[in-house]
Every structure is written in C-alpha cells, then in structure tokens.
Symmetry: C2
Subunit: 242 residues, 2 copies
C-alpha cells in the first residue's frame, strides 16, 4: 500500500449509512398519512432493485445512467406493485419527488468524516460511486465529506463494476492502477478493482455484504484476497498515515 497516492471510495453503505436515513424518512412520510408498513423491507427492496439495475447496466444493458432517475423509476414500480399498493395512491407527485431525494440526505458513519479528514492530509480522496454527481455533491455537503474530487459512474456513462468506471477514475487522477486503492464494504466492488490492478481495502459495515460469509473476507496477510481489512476509516488513516 506504500505507493498508494489516491483512495477511491464506494459511498452508499461504505461511507454513508443509507439504511437508517432512508428508513426514517419513509416512516415519517408514512406516518403523515397514517400508514404503517414494514419500512425496513421497503427500503431494502428499493436498494436491492437499485443494485440489480446498476449491475445489469454495468454489464451492457440499457437504462438510465442517472441514479435519481433510476431511484424514481424503482420507487414508482414498488408503489404500483400489489405488495405496496396500499401506499401508492396516497403519495402525491410532490411527495414522491421529495422522498426520492432522501438518497441525497444520508448520514455518514461516525468514523467517516474524521477518517476522511485524516486521509486527505496525505492522499487524494475521491468518491467512485454509482450515484449521480448532483446526488454526491449534495450528500458531501449534508454529511460533511471533504472529497478532493467527485467521480461518478454518471461521468463515464456506466456503473461499477464495469471496468470503465475504475479505469476512468485512475486515468483522470494521472496515476497507475497500483497507485490507487479502492475502499468498499462490498467485495464485488473490490474484486472488480483488483482485477484491474488497483489496491483494495475492505471495510465491513452492518448488513452491507451480500456474501453470506463476510467473515471469510480477509487480507492477503491473513490468507485472503484484499490488501487491507479495516474496521473504520479512522483506522485506515492510522495505518496509511503512519
């Protein structure tokens, strides 16, 4: 990791806690209409469809490369589905527009801002997210994320894990792949980065890993596949800034 000049961060789940913020706003909008529902499941379905859609498009499928548009299409689909149709007719156009922007208003994990501030002192820190630029800019202001640069799949007309997303970021940073580390709570993201020569940092976050055995994701020093496993961004800063 000593030659690493720049760190690219996955954002949803890795730097910000999308789950609690989205659940809370859904619950609040539901309460306004006297609706009780399994909001955690609604939030998870919204998120899961997003993951599936971005993956499909990353693999060459057709679809929006702006996540605001994608989130809205998925939201409308959920609200029209039999399971959630008791909610759909009660949420107006304005309310759907507003709740769709909850993804711009996500809180950072408690270690995110202090960790990024420390890492920024000796490294270039940038997002590499599938979120669109405006979403990432709003989120950075809301959650106080001091990015040096905001990279998005939107800029490169694809999504992670398409190689073009990682290689475009490396290109604009003017470095070699091995001089960049990808930081993520999702092993699929790190596997894609590693296959292109980037270094990898895994940071487990609650309920983020799709792999059924996240405890098996280990550093190379411990017989695993990633370069580092850390429990927080402040720990990562302690290691890299040594």
């Amino acid at each position: 990791m000593k030659q690493v000049q720049a760190l690219l961060f996955d954002v949803f789940g890795t730097v910000v806690d999308w789950r609690s913020s989205v659940e809370a706003e859904l619950k609040e909008l539901g309460a306004k209409h006297g609706i009780e529902a399994d909001w955690p499941r609604f939030a998870q379905e919204w998120r899961t469809s997003y993951m599936n859609e971005t993956r499909r498009i990353a693999n060459g499928g057709e679809g929006p490369t702006n996540v605001d548009i994608m989130h809205r299409e998925i939201l409308d689909g959920l609200l029209a589905s039999p399971e959630w149709s008791f909610i759909g007719p009660r949420w107006s156009e304005e309310e759907r527009t507003e709740i769709n922007l909850v993804w711009h208003r996500l809180k950072g994990w408690s270690d995110s801002t202090p960790g990024l501030r420390e890492l920024k002192k000796k490294h270039i820190i940038a997002s590499l997210s599938n979120g669109n630029i405006r979403l990432l800019v709003d989120m950075a202001k809301y959650a106080d994320l001091p990015w040096d640069a905001v990279f998005s799949g939107e800029l490169f007309q694809t999504y992670k894990p398409n190689p073009k997303a990682y290689l475009s970021a490396v290109h604009y940073l003017g470095v070699q792949p091995e001089e960049v580390a990808m930081v993520a709570a999702h092993i699929f993201d790190l596997r894609a980065a590693a296959s292109l020569g980037l270094r990898t940092v895994y940071i487990p976050r609650p309920q983020e890993e799709a792999d059924p055995n996240p405890e098996n994701i280990k550093s190379k020093a411990n017989g695993g596949e990633v370069d580092l496993v850390v429990s927080s961004l402040t720990e990562l800063a302690d290691i890299l800034n040594r």
Copy 2:
C-alpha cells in the same frame, strides 16, 4: 442572481495567481544554472501559447485535452526557439518535468479561500477550468480551495469557450443554466457562458483581462453586459449570502 444555486469558477487568474508562482519557480530554476532571463516574459509566453492552443482546440482543432501535456509541449517549444535557446540545453528532462508541474502549485489570491468558504455555505461551488483534473485536485490541496466538485474541460473532451464545457457542467449539476453563475476574470469566458443562459460574475484581477479597456466591463445595472462585477470573492459572498 437570486435563483443561482451553483457557482462555476474559472481558476487560472481568477482564483489563483499563476503569474507570481510561475515566475518565481522559473527564476529559481534559472538561478540554479546561473541563468538570468526575462522570466516574466517567459511566463507570459507560456501562458499566451496555452490560451491560444486551448482556444484553437475549443474551436474544433486537434490537440491534447490534457493541459499537463499541452504545457509540456509549449515549454519544449519555447526552449527550442531561438529566443530562449540559451536556456534549453541546460534544463534536463527531470527539471522540465518538475517545472511543468508548477501549474499544479499556484497560490490563491488572498480573498480566494475565505471567499470560497463563505460561498460554499449556501451554494455549490465548483471549478470549471481548462486545467486537467489532476492539476486541479493538486492545486485545490495546495491552495486550500474547498471545491464541492471539480469540473474540467478534460472530462468533456473540449475546452472553454466551447459550449459543451459549460453545458456539461450544468447538466451534471442537475440544474437549469440560469441557476448557475460563471465567475471569471476573463470576459470571453463570461460571454460564452451568458450566450448559453448562465449568469455571469466578473472579477478583475491584475493583468488578466485581454480586453484593452477592462474598465468598460460593467454590470447590467450600470449599463454593461455582466450580471455582477465584484472586486473579490469575499465581496461576492457578502452579496450572495445576504
């Protein structure tokens, strides 16, 4: 200006003082070899050729869309020219590589960082420069420029004043042109932005305006063509944050 959500900043000359930094490093490298030369004129020729080259490519000409490469090509051309050939043979490849990066190490004007910090509280602030992304990221760290986003002609495969540069930045910000203001010390930049519907802020800086009568550049309220004329970014913050 009340509907303006985002400010796009020209950088070289507008936010940072390229002239003093470039002159000082040229002089220092000259002194190392015992060379006396008209470094202010050398710096101006380097800058003028850059302006001409970016303009030519913005108009559809062929050439590098990475300014590090362009700066180096111009530097090598100058050092090979009869006028500066007494310097050329004495500067090594390593020294040329290093002096070429002086454009990453430019100081902000004294009002730039405090002004940007204030403006950032109520607006999205982003660069919109012809400099390449890595250059702008290095410069932001060096000069403490707290951008929310770094936009560069490099991302859009063109240079200002090509309309694509302005319209791409507006697109990624997810706003209408009239919700964005371009801030620059160069009227050509503001004229291009205004023709696309952006708002315009002119900020005179020493020796930056190519127009022979910069005092004739006035706000619309004073019979001129730009939306605002300010003497500093802190003044701009005072006006917009009111």
